[in-house]
């Protein structure tokens, strides 16, 4: 599938929401206003692990301007059951417990009470008057510590599960899984070189610029109306309904514009609290988190402890690989170790593999998805070890990867065989890029490479399209727009209809106004909602052909549509001309598309990075950075490049600086953007992008989804570049100046 086969797909039209975004007219959740609006605040635990003996709200309730206070006891306490949180199921008790702590605070920042008042300042002041009697308990902050038999236990009822079996062991290990393929002992026996290393990666946050926010109105008619910043309006609807024990049809969620999410705006934190406060007051209640709330009270991505062992023959063929992945879930089970296990060796064709994964609860905020969740940690380990083996064998690192690259028919250790994939094409594009052979141009400089894989997901999406008399169409969708998805979805409808992207008017609507649509996440939106738009447009084409046939007194089967022109024999009419005749040929034309697609195609990505390491300070400067990724088909290449650049920058931040800096008491001591060091434009060169297009045969336009795989390779590539610049193999993220200097000093010793 080549770009020239299409008229709209593969072009770069101006985004539909661009004018509103650049003029400041776009409405974000914090902008939302209503008559009678009250302001909410969340009281959070100052302790990482504590029994809550009692909560006395009497003083706070007497503060003038305070309208209502709630605690976990105000939520319905129905029987436990599993609820879908958007990217996986969890017990209702955990979802509810994370929104407001019941009985125990499991991390510093855990929400304990909600207050509604006439202003945010009064609500915050009232929070200071709530008296919580805590019994402080010892906390545990890393997976290896939490896995020890004598570790403080977070959940007395948590028993380790092993593939559906309750082991009966009470511990902080929620789940253990194993993927196994071939014979690992035989594989390592065949190896001429074996490298085994341990790795630690820090907890990091997605760092979206817009804090979480919500406004809720529990209306007089019993309906709960919510306006919020979310990656999944239907997830907010369903989870809020579960926690408040009301039917889903009683909740209507309107997604506002979203100032970044990256996976972190899938979970629900504020909506049930705001709704319950609204019920108590009869007024709409708005809650906006501070940056400190975001860091301490919402889900970062897991820190991890990883061991990777890989063996290779002298000829550069990997014979065996073994991984041990222990990921921090935070306060409740659900670390991203599952995807980590799927992706850890996913770029390679290896006959003998064992992967053990452990989902471990610790006294940190409950983790959430973050761009290819779990895969970046794992790839950092794998790509560093792969690089070391290639060096020991004297083989070029990309050549070594090519020798072992996964391809169609390769079986991944978690089971499935790949269909058509672009791993080889991505590595070849890296090898052929001028960056790879360019001189480094100075001392203390090094070049590193790494690759990564993300499987992408499908899940349900819905769209409707209605035709306007002027030949434009209105497209209604349920996917909140992150990264220009309004346009990438509209372009797929435009391609089918033979009209321009500008003639498609996309609108993201509330949960009452479109069929169920899963989260904007998992790199699924352009793939799945785009497919729904494709189906809706096909429905329009079918109906429009019938109208043309009626006008021309012929059979609909004889009518063709090509580049916006309906034809039958010697008759022809443009889409716009036919649209003007809908009223006289039968009335409005509305198309619908609803999909739950198979055919998901995973995406590979790779980086070439040049760094300079200051031998006196350990500071790493990124000199040049090239990102390569298989898009399948780039619907809007600018937005694909934007995703690649954004993911790369987040990966660079994860690699070099970002971390939850925790003290012994489990408090994050850098919970502001001054101290949580994310890269800025001043820290980075222009990120060069190369889009590889190996069409996904499972999608009408060959789309794979590009939102995630790009964050995976940066830490590994940068670690490998640091090694060549400074001579030290890094095994810990972040690779900040103190860590690099320590590694240099250790080597000197």
């Amino acid at each position: 599938m080549k770009t020239q086969e299409y008229t709209v797909v593969g072009t770069r039209p101006i985004r539909h929401d661009g004018a509103d975004k650049v003029t400041g007219r776009a409405q974000y959740g914090a902008d939302f206003q209503m008559a009678g609006l009250l302001h909410g605040h969340i009281l959070r635990s100052p302790h990482a692990h504590a029994q809550i003996r009692s909560i006395d709200t009497s003083k706070a309730a007497k503060l003038p301007g305070v309208k209502a206070i709630i605690t976990a006891d105000d939520f319905p306490q129905g029987p436990d059951r599993m609820v879908d949180l958007g990217e996986g199921d969890t017990p209702l008790s955990y979802a509810r417990g994370n929104v407001l702590a019941k009985g125990k605070a499991l991390y510093r920042g855990h929400a304990v009470a909600g207050i509604a008042a006439i202003s945010a300042h009064v609500a915050e002041e009232a929070a200071g008057l709530i008296e919580v009697d805590y019994e402080v308990l010892p906390c545990v902050l890393t997976a290896p510590e939490a896995m020890r038999e004598d570790a403080p236990v977070l959940h007395a009822d948590l028993k380790t599960k092993e593939f559906g079996e309750q082991t009966g062991r009470t511990s902080n290990i929620a789940e253990h899984f194993r993927h196994e393929m071939g014979n690992i002992e035989t594989g390592f026996a065949e190896a001429d070189v074996i490298v085994e290393r341990e790795f630690h990666t820090a907890t990091v946050h997605q760092g979206y610029i817009e804090p979480h926010n919500t406004t809720a109105l529990w209306n007089n008619d019993g309906r709960i109306l919510i306006w919020c910043s979310t990656q999944g309006s239907f997830v907010v609807r369903d989870v809020t309904a579960c926690i408040l024990d009301v039917p889903v049809s009683q909740v209507k969620v309107t997604p506002m514009e979203i100032g970044g999410g990256f996976g972190g705006k899938i979970p629900v934190y504020l909506e049930p609290v705001a709704a319950m406060l609204s019920r108590k007051t009869g007024k709409p209640v708005k809650i906006v988190m501070s940056r400190k709330d975001v860091f301490e009270g919402t889900g970062p991505t897991p820190g991890s402890y990883i061991k990777v062992k890989i063996g290779s023959r002298k000829d550069g063929r990997i014979t065996a690989a073994q991984a041990y992945l222990a990921y921090e879930a935070g306060a409740y089970p659900g670390a991203m170790v599952g995807p980590g296990g799927m992706c850890v060796f996913a770029a390679y064709d290896i006959a003998n593999v064992v992967i053990d994964g452990f989902d471990v609860v610790v006294n940190k905020p409950s983790t959430a998805a973050y761009r290819a969740p779990g895969a970046t940690n794992a790839a950092f380990a794998t790509e560093t070890v792969v690089d070391e083996i290639a060096e020991k064998l004297g083989i070029d690192p990309l050549e070594f990867r090519l020798k072992n690259a996964a391809k169609e028919g390769t079986r991944r250790a978690d089971g499935p065989k790949y269909r058509r994939i672009g791993c080889v094409e991505v590595i070849e594009a890296m090898k052929n890029h001028p960056h790879y052979s360019a001189p480094l141009g100075g001392p203390n400089r090094g070049r590193g490479v790494a690759v990564g894989f993300w499987f992408n997901i499908g899940l349900p999406s819905s769209c409707t399209i209605s035709v306007n008399a002027d030949g434009t169409v209105n497209l209604v969708e349920g996917s909140t727009d992150i990264g220009g998805t309004r346009t990438s979805i509209a372009m797929q409808a435009a391609e089918v209809l033979g009209i321009s992207a500008a003639d498609v008017h996309p609108t993201v609507v509330d949960t009452d106004s479109v069929g169920f649509t899963a989260v904007t996440g998992g790199s699924r939106t352009t793939f799945a909602t785009g497919w729904a738009a494709y189906e809706a447009a096909q429905d329009i084409v079918r109906q429009m052909k019938e109208r043309a046939a009626k006008l021309w007194e012929t059979e609909a089967a004889s009518v063709e549509l090509e580049r916006g022109l309906f034809r039958s024999g010697d008759k022809a009419m443009s889409f716009a001309d036919l649209a003007a005749k809908l009223e006289s040929t039968g009335g409005p034309v509305v198309g619908r598309g609803a999909v739950n697609p198979r055919g998901v195609g995973g995406s590979f990505s790779g980086n070439i990075v040049d760094v300079e390491v200051d031998p006196e300070t350990g500071k790493v400067t990124i000199l040049r950075f090239t990102a390569v990724q298989d898009a399948g088909k780039a619907i809007h290449p600018s937005y694909v490049e934007g995703q690649m650049q954004g993911g790369s920058v987040q990966g660079i931040g994860w690699a070099l600086n970002e971390e939850y800096y925790m003290n012994r008491d489990g408090a994050m001591t850098n919970s502001s953007l001054l101290d949580y060091r994310m890269p800025t434009a001043l820290d980075l060169p222009m990120i060069d992008t190369v889009i590889v297009e190996v069409a996904n045969p499972g999608h009408p336009f060959g789309v794979r989804g590009v939102g995630e795989a790009n964050i995976i390779p940066p830490p590994g590539a940068i670690a490998n570049a640091i090694y060549r610049a400074a001579g030290v193999r890094m095994n810990r993220l972040p690779m900040n100046p103190p860590a690099i200097m320590q590694a240099i000093w250790n080597q000197r010793d």
Binding site: M82, D84, L85, G86, E87, G88, D89, T90, K161, E162, F163, G164, E165, E175, H176, F177, R178, H179, E180, P333, G334, A335, M336, V337, G338, P339, G341, M342, G357, D359, A369, A372, P373, G374, D414, G415, P416, K417, Y418, R419, W454, F455, I457, G458, L459, P460, A518, G521, G522, N596, P597, R598, G599, V600, E708
Partner: protein
């Protein structure tokens, strides 16, 4: 006949076999027949009449959104995957 790949942690129920061939036109029927061949497997895979929350099923290389209702062909490969939260929904 479809081939069912058995996760390592369930192979104690299949006498150590890593794959089992059983009849079945849907995932549900495959599990029914798997249970006859290897008693105890159904309980590990299903909670009442649905896949356990942290288990996904892949048919011919792709995690299926249809779960137990997914059609299975005579030459299909069926995998049960530990789908701990994050990126892959346990549908």
């Amino acid at each position: 006949m479809p081939t069912v790949y058995i996760p390592t942690l369930l192979q104690n129920l299949t006498g150590g076999r890593s794959s089992v061939e059983v009849e079945g036109e849907t995932v549900r029927r495959v599990i029914d027949n798997l249970e006859r061949a290897c008693p105890g497997l159904r309980e590990r895979l299903l909670d009442q009449d649905r896949l356990r929350p942290n288990i996904s099923v892949a048919v011919d290389g792709e995690v299926t959104p249809m779960g137990l209702l997914e059609p299975v062909g005579p030459a299909s490969e069926v995998h049960f995957i530990a789908a701990i939260k994050g990126g892959v929904a346990s549908r």
